[in-house]
Amino acid sequence: MVSLNSYLMLGAVLFSIGAVGVFTQRNALIIYMCIELMLNAVNLTIIAFARFLNSMDGHVFVFMIMTVAAAEAAVGLAIIISLFRNKATVNVDEINLSKG
C-alpha cells in the first residue's frame, strides 16, 4: 500500500511545479493551466488525507473544489477572450497599460 507521505509529497511537488509555472510562463492560458495544476495538487492532498483519516469531509470538499474550479474556468476563459478581442494577444508581458 502506498503511504500517506508519498501522496503528500506528490501533491507538494505538483503544487510547486504549478506555482513556479505561474511566475515563469508568459502565456495567460498556460498560467491558468498552472493554476489548475495547483488546484489539483490540493485535491490530491485532501483526498489522500480523507482516505487515511477515514473522514467523509475531505471527499465532499474535493467535489466542492472541482465545482468551483469549473466556475472559475468559465469566467477566466471569458475574461481572456474579451481581452483577446481588444488586443490580439494573450502574452502577459504585452498586457501592460497600468504601471507605476
Partner: protein
C-alpha cells in the same frame, strides 16, 4: 455563552436568502421584462439590500445578547460579530449601487448582470463572515472573488478594464490555491474542517506539529492576497486603476472587510494556540504593508492608483489591530472597517462625479481648481481625504486612535510608533489632492475638452450618507463603540 445546535434553520440564512432572491429576480427582469424597465434594476437591488439589512438587524438575538447560534450541522454561525460585518458589507453594497446607477447610464452599460453580480459578491462576503467551517468560508471566498473578476472587467470595451480583470483573475485564483492548500493541511492534521472542532483538537493535542504550522502560514498567504497586504499586494493597484470607478469603490471596502472577517475568525477562534507563530509573521506583514503602501502612494499621479496604495496602507493598520487580538484588537478592527467603508466609498463616489464620462479625469492634476468649480464635491472629497489621513474630527481618526491604543495596551509599542509615523507620511499624498483642488489653477485646455461631470440624486445621496458616517463616527464614537463591544464578545 449559549449555544444552540440545529440542522436546518432558514431564519439563520434569511438575509442571504433575500439577496439570492433579489439577484435572481434582477436576472429574470433583465431577460423577460420590456427594455424600458432598464433604469429599475438598480432600485430593485437596493430594495433587496435594504431588506437584508432589516433582517440582519432583527435576526433572532438582538444586539444586546451575546448568544451564538450554530445551524446546518455546525456549518453556519450567526453571532453579533458576523452581523456587524454583514452590516458593513451591506452598507458598502448599498452605497456602491447608488453610485453605479448614473455611471452605468453614462457608459451605456446599464445591464441587470452588474447588480446581480454585485449582490452575489455581497452574498459571498456574508457567507465568509458567517462560515463556521473552512469549506463554507472557502465557498464564500470564491463566490465573492469570481463575481469580482467579472465586475473588474465589466466595461469590456476598455482595454484597461480587461487587463484589470485578467490580472485580478490570475492572481486571485493563484491566491485561492494557497488558501486551499492551507485548509488541506489543517484538515489533514486535525481531521476536521469545523472551526470550533479544530480549536478543540489543537487545545487537546497541545501542539499541532509542523503540518498545521505550514497550513497556517499558507492561510496567511491566501488571506494576505485577499486583503492586499504586502508582499501579496501587486494585483491591487493595477486592478483598482483598471476597474470601473464604482467597482473599485466596492472592491476596496467590502471584500477587504470580508477577508479580515474570515481571517480573524479562523485565526482567533481556530488557531489561537498558534498565536506565537502567527504573531511574528503578521508583525512583519503589518510593517511592510503600512510602509510600502504609504511610500509608493506618495509618487502616484493617478488618483485611483493612489487610493489603491492608500487602501493597501489601511490594510496594514487593520493588521496592527489584528495583532493586538483580544477584545480591544477585534473591536478596533470592526470600528476601523466601518469607518474605512464610509470614507473610501465616499472618496470613490466623488471621483465618479468628477472623472466624467469614460473616466477621463482621474489624474491628480485634473483635480486642479475643482474647489471653485464644484465647491460641494470638493468639500466632500476633502472630508473623505482628511478622514483617510486620520485627521480629527473624522471617523478615520477615531479608528486609528483605537487601533494604536489597542496595540500599545497589548504591548506592540514599536508597531504603534511605526503606524503613527506612516500615518503622518500619508498626510502628504492626501493633502496633495486637497492642495490641487483649492490652491492650483485649473488646466484650461483640458477643461474645455471634458465638460461633463457625472451627476445624479442617487450619487449625492451616496456621498451624503458616507459623509454622515465619517462625521458621526468621528464625533459620536460612543454609540458605535457600544455596538462594536457587543460584537466581538462572541468570538472569544
Amino acid at each position: 455563552m449559549e449555544q444552540v445546535m440545529s440542522s436546518i434553520n432558514l431564519s439563520a440564512i434569511a438575509p442571504e436568502l433575500i439577496l439570492v432572491v433579489c439577484s435572481l429576480l434582477i436576472l429574470l427582469i433583465q431577460s423577460f421584462a420590456p427594455i424600458r424597465l432598464k433604469g429599475w434594476y438598480g432600485y430593485v437591488s437596493l430594495i433587496g439590500v435594504v431588506g437584508a439589512v432589516a433582517v440582519v438587524l432583527t435576526q433572532p438575538q438582538s444586539f444586546e445578547l451575546r448568544a451564538i447560534e450554530y445551524s446546518f450541522n455546525g456549518m453556519w454561525v450567526v453571532d453579533n460579530y458576523c452581523r456587524f460585518f454583514k452590516l458593513i458589507f451591506l452598507l458598502g453594497t448599498g452605497l456602491t449601487i447608488l453610485i453605479s446607477i448614473k455611471y452605468l447610464d453614462n457608459e451605456a452599460m446599464q445591464h441587470g448582470e452588474y447588480y446581480a453580480l454585485i449582490i452575489f459578491a455581497t452574498l459571498g462576503m456574508m457567507i465568509m463572515s458567517s462560515g463556521a467551517e473552512l469549506i463554507t468560508i472557502f465557498l464564500g471566498v470564491e463566490l465573492m472573488s469570481i463575481s469580482l473578476y467579472v465586475l473588474a472587467g465589466y466595461t469590456r470595451n476598455r482595454m484597461i478594464s480587461n487587463e484589470a480583470a485578467l490580472k485580478y483573475f490570475l492572481l486571485g485564483s493563484f491566491a485561492t490555491c494557497f488558501l486551499l492548500y492551507g485548509i488541506a493541511l489543517i484538515y489533514g492534521s486535525t481531521g476536521t474542517t469545523s472551526i470550533p472542532a479544530i480549536a478543540k483538537f489543537i487545545a487537546g493535542a497541545g501542539f499541532g506539529g509542523p503540518t498545521i504550522v505550514m497550513g497556517m502560514a499558507l492561510l496567511v498567504i491566501g488571506f494576505g492576497f485577499k486583503t492586499a497586504s504586502v508582499p501579496f499586494h501587486m494585483w491591487a493597484p493595477d486592478v483598482y486603476e483598471g476597474a470601473p470607478a464604482p467597482v473599485t469603490a466596492f472592491m476596496s471596502a467590502g471584500p477587504k472587510a470580508a477577508a479580515f472577517a474570515a481571517f480573524a475568525r479562523i485565526f482567533m477562534e481556530a488557531l489561537p494556540s498558534l498565536q506565537t507563530n502567527w504573531t511574528m509573521l503578521i508583525w512583519v506583514m503589518a510593517v511592510l504593508t503600512m510602509s510600502v503602501g504609504n511610500v509608493i502612494a506618495l509618487v502616484q499621479e493617478n488618483i485611483k492608483r493612489m487610493l489603491a496604495y492608500s487602501s493597501i496602507a489601511h490594510a496594514g493598520y487593520v493588521l496592527v489591530a489584528f495583532l493586538s487580538a483580544g477584545e480591544r484588537g477585534i473591536s478596533s478592527i470592526l470600528y476601523y472597517m466601518l469607518a474605512y467603508t464610509c470614507m473610501n466609498i465616499g472618496a470613490f463616489a466623488v471621483i465618479t462625479v468628477l472623472a466624467g464620462k469614460g473616466e477621463q479625469r482621474v489624474r491628480i492634476a485634473d483635480f486642479r481648481g475643482l474647489g471653485y468649480r464644484h465647491p460641494i464635491a470638493a468639500l466632500a472629497m476633502t472630508l473623505f481625504l482628511f478622514s483617510l489621513a486620520g485627521i480629527p474630527p473624522t471617523g478615520g481618526f477615531m479608528g486609528k486612535f483605537y487601533i494604536f491604543s489597542a496595540a500599545i495596551k497589548e504591548g506592540f509599542v514599536g508597531l504603534a510608533i511605526i503606524g503613527v509615523i506612516n500615518s503622518v507620511v500619508s498626510v502628504y499624498y492626501y493633502l496633495r489632492v486637497t492642495v490641487a483642488m483649492y490652491m492650483q489653477a485649473p488646466d484650461t485646455a483640458a477643461e474645455k475638452e471634458i465638460p461633463v461631470t457625472v451627476f445624479s440624486p442617487a450619487l449625492v445621496i451616496a456621498i451624503f450618507i458616507s459623509a454622515y458616517g465619517v462625521l458621526s463616527l468621528g464625533l459620536f464614537p460612543s454609540t458605535y463603540l457600544a455596538m462594536v463591544k457587543l460584537s466581538f464578545l462572541t468570538l472569544l
